[in-house]
């Protein structure tokens, strides 16, 4: 057997041919995780894949592009690190030494360390959702049927994981030396060719070690994530809560981190002039931090080289940074060794063994019926609680306006009434966007169970009624929370009164948008359906439905110029219209 396969050149597959094969396994895993996470959108996903199979690989490609772009964006940090450090040194004349030398070292090292610290976070944010699925033994079921040796299948799992983050790894290795090289080019007169070469070489060594370290970290977290998320067999409420909490934390963590990255890049030069510690205190801090392998040792070593003898460094700091870097390399070696072993073992794990351990409970068949409206509400809540995409749909309305207002505050655009009006309009845009996300989210639930609903005597009226409460939840809350950011503002009392009078518009526009979307997608000869049946010109229909929501919101802003009374009357008229349309479209 071995001889036969050897002759065919498959049995002793070289690493390159295994890497080529890993593309198939990778796509299989992507499809697997896309189906797992599609929840209520599964019908649409399968339909889309049927039309265009390339969409299986387009999502990871987008994520790869985004993370590579962000890693590339981080190049700003080492570039600024060099230019700002050199600028501060050159302008920090001995006659008026406003900024202590050790403080410059400390902040400069912090900048480089921040870069090294942010890289794995970016990798985690953009890659983890694509990599945890690679720990599923199911995706290696197919390669195991091929004439491959067990060892090759094990190697395949390692190579598939590397394929999952190949572009990011390449960027992580190249971006740091590239940033340093750009910084040197800007201040080229300060560095001799040997010094420049040494600096770039050191940056390359640091970034290679860091890239492998980051790979190990992502393997470790992906594995943990897989263990947590793969408890799908368990139907307990606890399991659902754990999964939901993890995903929410992931979302909040990602958004917060992206915000921190953005702010830290903008604010970095300020830290040089904001002296918090004396020279002696900074020296002590430098000596301690330089010994910490990740992320500081690399940061200190590169800063020492950047300053090019212009600053005094204690020998302890120099020794600390070199020792720390060596320790970092050793730690990375063990981490990678562990990661490789974890990955090689992936195809061996049998998920069935977990299932067998579970106790068999006596199952009592007992139908519990309720009214159709309540049945729809219960079904929707069950599906939403177990569908990450849908949970996000309800969380996003709260998160997005908050981030919008924080950015506005940072940019100081809210200082006057004009700035506030602009911020209000931008938050209305976000509200329209998230309202439309809710509309598509709750209507997509229907197509997820097409087989069942298509044969059941369903009244669309009940279906639509069951969707209405969602427009009174997170978007309304988000709108109110947004106002609280201005509690100390002189315009707050005005804003809150206007906000409360305007508040009913938010759910009304959402309900109107829901009816409009059904009109666009679900108009049959004798009735309307919630499902998207009329799918021709889909893009235009989605855009017009979104614009309907946005224009509804803006219409009331226009009405408010005529006074609160006009706004209130407008709301009553709109509500009356909605009731008329509801009864017409969805008769009893």
């Amino acid at each position: 057997m071995e001889k036969t396969t050897r002759n065919r050149g498959i049995g002793v597959a070289s690493l390159i041919s295994l890497y080529k094969l890993s593309k198939r396994v990778y796509h299989e895993s992507i499809l697997h995780s896309q189906l797992e996470s599609s929840g209520s959108n599964i019908a649409k996903l399968l339909e889309r894949i049927g039309r265009n199979p390339k969409i299986i690989s387009s999502q990871p490609k987008i994520m790869k592009f985004l993370s590579s772009f962000y890693i590339l964006f981080l190049t700003i940090i080492p570039v600024r690190s060099i230019t700002v450090v050199n600028f501060i040194i050159s302008s920090n004349k001995p006659s008026h030494t406003q900024i202590p030398q050790q403080w410059i070292t400390l902040v400069g090292s912090m900048m480089s360390s921040a870069f090294l610290l942010l890289e794995p976070f970016i990798l985690i944010i953009f890659s983890i959702m694509m990599t945890w699925g690679l720990f599923s033994p199911e995706i290696y079921a197919w390669p195991q049927t091929l004439p491959l040796r067990k060892k090759d299948v094990e190697k395949l799992s390692l190579l598939t994981f590397i394929r999952g983050i190949n572009i990011q790894l390449l960027f992580m290795i190249l971006v740091f030396p590239l940033g340093i090289a750009i910084g040197i080019l800007i201040d080229f007169s300060l560095y001799s060719p040997i010094m420049a070469f040494l600096l770039i070489l050191t940056a390359l060594i640091i970034s290679i070690v860091s890239a492998f370290f980051n790979l190990g970290v992502v393997v470790f977290i992906s594995k943990k994530m897989y263990i947590l998320m793969d408890e799908k067999e368990d139907n307990s409420g606890k399991s659902s809560i754990i999964k939901t909490t993890i995903s929410l934390l992931y979302l909040i963590f990602s958004m917060t981190l992206m915000y921190i990255i953005q702010i830290s890049i903008e604010k970095i030069p300020d830290y040089f002039t904001t002296v918090l510690l004396s020279n002696e205190q900074s020296l002590l801090v430098n000596n301690i931090l330089s010994f910490i392998p990740f992320p500081f040792s690399g940061g200190y070593l590169i800063t020492i080289l950047i300053t090019n003898h212009s600053l005094y460094f204690s020998p302890i700091t120099v020794i600390g940074s070199i020792t720390g870097l060596i320790v970092f390399a050793i730690l990375t070696y063990f981490l990678i060794k562990h990661s490789v072993s974890t990955l090689l073992n992936t195809p061996k794990i049998k998920s069935d063994s977990m299932k067998e351990k579970r106790n068999k409970k006596e199952i009592i068949v007992q139908l519990q019926t309720t009214s159709p409206l309540k049945a729809f509400i219960r079904r929707d809540l069950t599906i939403i609680s177990r569908d990450m995409q849908l949970i996000m749909v309800f969380v996003m309305p709260i998160v997005i306006p908050i981030f919008a207002v924080i950015t506005d505050i940072e940019d100081n655009v809210l200082l006057n009434e004009v700035g506030l009006t602009g911020a209000f309009l931008s938050v209305l845009f976000y509200i329209a966007l998230t309202t439309y996300m809710i509309i598509t989210g709750v209507t997509n639930i229907e197509s997820g169970g097409e087989t069942i609903t298509s044969s059941i005597p369903i009244r669309t009226r009940d279906q639509v009624k069951s969707k209405i409460p969602y427009f009174f939840t997170s978007i309304v809350l988000a709108f109110l929370i947004w106002h609280l950011f201005f509690i100390n503002d002189e315009f707050f009392s005005k804003m809150i009164v206007f906000g409360l009078v305007y508040l009913p518009v938010i759910p009304l526009a959402g309900i109107g948008g829901l009816f409009f979307k059904i009109l666009m997608f679900g108009k049959l000869r004798y009735k309307y359906v919630v499902e998207e049946i009329k799918t021709e010109h889909r893009f235009i229909k989605h855009i017009s439905s979104f614009l309907f929501v946005l224009l509804s919101l803006l219409l009331f802003v226009g009405l408010s110029f005529l006074g609160y009374g006009a706004l209130g009357i407008g709301e009553i008229v709109y509500l009356t219209l909605l009731i008329v349309v509801f009864n017409h479209m969805f008769p009893k």
């Binding site: 068949v365 159709p372 169970g449 044969s455 059941i456 005597p457």
Partner: protein, 281 residues
């Protein structure tokens, strides 16, 4: 491509009590004519087979019967009702199994059956026993509290079949219902269909597996490229195809004019396999 002159005569009639009457149905998707002037009737107490190659228009026809798709031309009556206008009344009396079990993946089977029973307004006291018995018959009881997403294709299919049978419908519309089922469950389902027929119910069985159609169906409509090629009992179809005594496979291939092309393919395959063997030597 089936030429116009290849359409055979059918043995359909307008006599007797009908559950479904489809007359001159036409359904287009853009430039593609999925169903082209299709006429057939389904009698009360019969298993009616819709047979055709992949893409013949079987599923589109089934969806029109259910009122899920509007015919562009022609008319459908189910229990003498209009499936679109009288959708609720029709669906109360119909059970449907689709080719692809699109059932709510995030729900457990228990939640799914509660949902179905609520919308069908079933009395729990009356239907608990029936549900229990169906779950046991299909050996699906261990999966009652499992999330549907975690079930195998076969077990999802079982849940779909049970959901379609629970309310004791008069008409069962089954689109490839045996897909994914193990031998035992497939046998159980076949028996259920026979019992349903004996009680006076009707079944529309859409399939491309000829053995199943031959075993179960009283009459078969053969559809190709959206057109009705032939309709009748196996015996009647064999007469239409001039293949008396042949099995349904031969009759079917003859009626859709694929018998010769299959011979050519098999011949080519035989030659290429023989060549491959010689090269290896």
């Amino acid at each position: 491509m089936v030429a116009e002159d290849n359409i055979h005569h059918s043995y359909d009639s307008t006599e007797g009590e009908f559950t479904v009457k489809a007359t001159n149905l036409v359904k287009r998707f853009g430039d593609v004519i999925a169903v082209n002037n299709l006429t057939f009737n389904v009698r009360k107490g019969e298993i009616f087979g819709l047979l055709g190659p992949n893409g013949a228009g079987k599923t589109t026809t089934v969806k029109m019967i259910l009122g899920l798709l509007e015919p562009d031309e022609g008319e459908i009556r189910v229990f003498d009702l209009h499936p679109e206008k009288d959708e609720i009344e029709v669906k109360k009396r119909v059970g449907y199994v689709s080719e692809e079990p699109l059932i709510y993946r995030s729900m457990t089977a228990r939640q799914l059956f509660n949902f179905v029973a609520s919308l069908r307004n079933l009395e729990p006291e009356e239907f608990n026993q029936k549900l229990q018995s169906l779950l046991e018959s299909f050996e699906a009881l261990p999966y009652y509290d499992k999330i549907i997403a975690t079930l195998s294709r076969g077990n999802k299919q079982k849940m779909q079949v049970i959901a379609s049978l629970l309310h004791e419908p008069d008409l069962l519309i089954m689109d490839e219902p045996l897909t994914g089922l193990d031998a035992k469950s497939a046998k159980v389902l076949k028996e259920i269909l026979e019992m349903h027929k004996e009680k006076g119910g009707s079944v529309i069985l859409s399939t491309h597996i000829l053995e199943i159609a031959e075993e179960l169906c009283d009459r078969i409509a053969i559809i190709d490229h959206g057109k009705l090629v032939a309709l009748g009992t196996i015996e009647e179809l064999s007469h239409l195809a001039n293949k008396v005594g042949a099995d349904l496979e031969d009759i079917f291939l003859k009626l859709i004019n694929q018998d010769e092309s299959v011979d050519i393919i098999v011949d080519k395959l035989r030659k290429s396999l023989k060549n491959g063997k010689n090269n290896k030597k």
